[in-house]
């Protein structure tokens, strides 16, 4: 059972080099985005460009609007101003099925009225790629079994969802996304319910996948250490009562993950320590 993708390392390095030479393509963009929920402004005039090969993190306190921002970027809800574009096409003009071929979303919570099996659930990721009356093929099944192996659920294929733990269900959701195989990944708290080992191994897997396939990934996180380790760029959504000029700030992780900014973000003192293993963040 291998949890990390030990695929062709040299191959992935060369793709990255190729991508650096040419300007990376913008996969997902927001233009002058304004999002409000229940009368509360989450962002205004937000311009955002997610380029091929980039991994972004969204950080903010509870109720700051991370999920709402992600849902807006995925086209699940209308922005109050501005627009979202997938590869230059406004997301509103893209059919739901075509959107799902390009953009995958990891939802925070999930309901199961009548639980299906693990394999059936993973196979549902093929839905956007199948024709109307088409059944999943042997190829689709191979893709699903491989994804289940990557998240360490190979032994559970026939189990029903109600017999999985929270962490196993989270891994299954990630497997469904791997099966869906989108270019743009939007993940709402992917580290939820996962133990330390799986947090690291699955985020490593997703990072390698994004770099190799020149996709892009945006995830909301609560763990600063994970954000430091896995993200290239960050978006901070500051709380309402914060006195900062901009409510939403974006930039390279090194510029944003500073004690003073984090103090504003969480309204709580946070210490940054430089250790032999790298930067470490500790709540004061």
């Amino acid at each position: 059972m291998s949890l990390t993708n030990n695929g062709d390392k040299s191959g992935s390095a060369s793709t990255i080099n190729d991508a650096i030479e040419t300007t990376p393509k913008v996969l997902l963009a927001a233009q002058q985005l304004g999002v409000k929920i229940a009368g509360k402004t989450i962002c205004q005039n937000l311009d955002l460009e997610l380029k091929a090969g980039e991994i972004w993190g969204v950080l903010g306190g509870n109720g700051a609007g991370k999920t709402t921002l992600l849902h807006t970027l995925a086209g699940f809800r209308e922005p109050d101003q501005g627009q979202v574009l997938i590869e230059q096409t406004p997301i509103k003009q893209i059919k739901a099925k075509h959107r799902a071929q390009k953009l995958g979303f990891l939802l925070q919570d999930e309901k199961n009225a009548f639980p299906a099996t693990v394999l059936e659930t993973a196979l549902q990721g093929r839905h956007p790629h199948l024709g109307h009356w088409q059944w999943e093929s042997i190829e689709d099944e191979k893709i699903a079994l491989k994804a289940l192996e990557q998240v360490g659920l190979s032994d559970y294929t026939e189990r029903t969802l109600d017999r999985l733990s929270g962490g196993e269900r989270q891994r299954l959701k990630i497997a469904t996304l791997l099966v869906q195989d989108p270019k743009i990944w939007l993940l709402d708290e992917p580290a939820n319910h996962l133990d330390l080992h799986h947090q690291i191994s699955l985020l490593t897997l997703l990072k390698e996948q994004t770099k190799q396939q020149q996709g892009c990934l945006l995830m909301s996180l609560h763990d600063l250490n994970l954000a430091w380790r896995f993200c290239d760029k960050l978006i901070f959504i500051y709380p309402d009562d914060c006195t900062r000029e901009h409510k939403v700030e974006q930039g390279d992780k090194a510029a944003l993950l500073q004690a003073e900014k984090l103090q504003h973000l969480y309204q709580h003192p946070i210490h940054c320590l430089d250790t032999a293993q790298g930067k470490v963040f500790i709540a004061g």
Binding site: A74, F76, K95, A96, K97, H98, R99, A100, Q101, G104, F105, L107, E110, K111, N112, A113, F114, P115, A116, T117, L119, E120, T121, L123, Q124, G125, H127, P128, L130, H132, W133, W135, E136, S137, I138, D140, E141, T157, E158, T160, L161, D162, R163, Q180
Partner: protein
């Protein structure tokens, strides 16, 4: 042990559907041969293949065949509608009547009985009542712009309660000689059944349309957002489901009154034994529902012959123990 590869699963599905179709055929033969005049299998073959006029031929063609075909169609419609309703409302307790379709139809039918109208007017009024309910619940659940399953469920349940009050009122003011007919209608009864011509057309169209939606329905079980994330246009799908389930129920209720229990239990029995894939579940529900109602109706008219029981009593008598047994044996979770 459930086979693991996709192709095995497809073969398994075909096999199940074939077995259920055979069961339907078997119960049809049983229904045509049994009754106050026993008809042997060879006689039945003769009656069907040759063009003779005998007592047996009249019994089969004029009485038993229309009733048996009605039972098949009504049972199939109710089970299919129940299955769709359970997905739409994402609630295991949902049945075809939960949103008040049968209540509206019942008020129409009871009104016709009270006025002493004929059976055609009764069917027409029942159908009108069902359609009034369909539009009423849809309009009310829709009014605020948001349209969640919970909102729809509450609107429907309360509307159904309203119809219930009207029904009780009508029962209490109607005359004694009308009451038996009313109670039979309310419990579900196939004795008025005619050849289900246009109703079978409604059924076939609804079955094909809902079968075409089977894969999106599988995604809907994991929540609207998850379905959306995987590329389903959720809102049109929900409206389609609501219309299909309501139309099927209206058509079934118009033919045979509100036969209880079938629409709730058949989809659950199949889910517990065959799994939750709607590509199998929808046609399987239709076949099993038809088969079960036909068997129940055959029992209803032979058990204490020449007296007839309302078939709704029998469906509950068969359905309750079968359901509890399957629930005990099943290793699949329900919720």
């Amino acid at each position: 042990m459930i086979p693991s590869t996709v192709s095995q699963q497809q073969q398994r599905n075909l096999l199940y559907l074939l077995l259920l179709a055979l069961a339907c055929l078997g119960s049809l033969v049983l229904a045509l041969t049994s009754g106050s005049i026993e008809i042997s299998l060879s006689d039945l073959w003769q009656v069907i293949t040759t063009d003779q006029t005998s007592l047996q031929s009249t019994v089969v063609h004029e009485l038993r065949l229309p009733r048996a075909l009605s039972a098949l169609i009504v049972g199939a419609q109710l089970a299919l509608a129940g299955c769709l309703m359970q997905v739409l409302l994402r609630n295991p307790l949902a049945d075809p009547y939960v949103l008040g379709v049968s209540g509206g139809a019942a008020v129409g039918a009871l009104f016709s009985i009270m006025m002493g109208l004929g059976s055609f007017a009764m069917s027409a009024n029942a159908f009108i009542g069902a359609m009034v309910n369909l539009l009423l619940v849809f309009g009310l659940a829709h009014s605020q712009g948001s349209w969640s399953p919970t909102r729809l469920l509450l609107t429907g349940v309360v509307t159904a309660a309203g119809w219930g009050a009207v029904i009780s009122f009508m029962l209490s003011i109607s005359q004694d000689h009308q009451l038996t007919g009313m109670v039979f209608w309310l419990m579900g009864d196939l004795s008025r059944a005619q050849l289900p011509g246009q109703h079978s057309l409604v059924f076939i169209i609804c079955l094909l349309l809902s079968w075409a939606l089977a894969r999106p329905l599988n995604l809907m079980l994991r929540g609207e957002m998850q379905a959306k994330a995987l590329g389903v246009s959720v809102y049109p799908l929900q409206i389609g489901l609501y219309l299909l389930a309501s139309l099927l129920t209206a058509s079934a209720v118009t033919q045979a009154g509100s036969i209880g229990f079938l629409g709730l239990v058949v989809p659950h029995i199949l889910r517990l034994s065959l799994g939750t894939d709607h590509r199998l579940l929808l046609p399987a529900s239709a076949l099993a529902g038809g088969c079960l109602l036909l068997l129940a109706d055959t029992l209803a008219r032979t058990l204490i012959a020449p007296q007839q029981l309302p078939v709704g009593v029998i469906t509950a008598f068969i359905g309750v123990p079968v359901f509890l047994w399957v629930l005990q044996k099943s290793n699949r979770g329900l919720v």
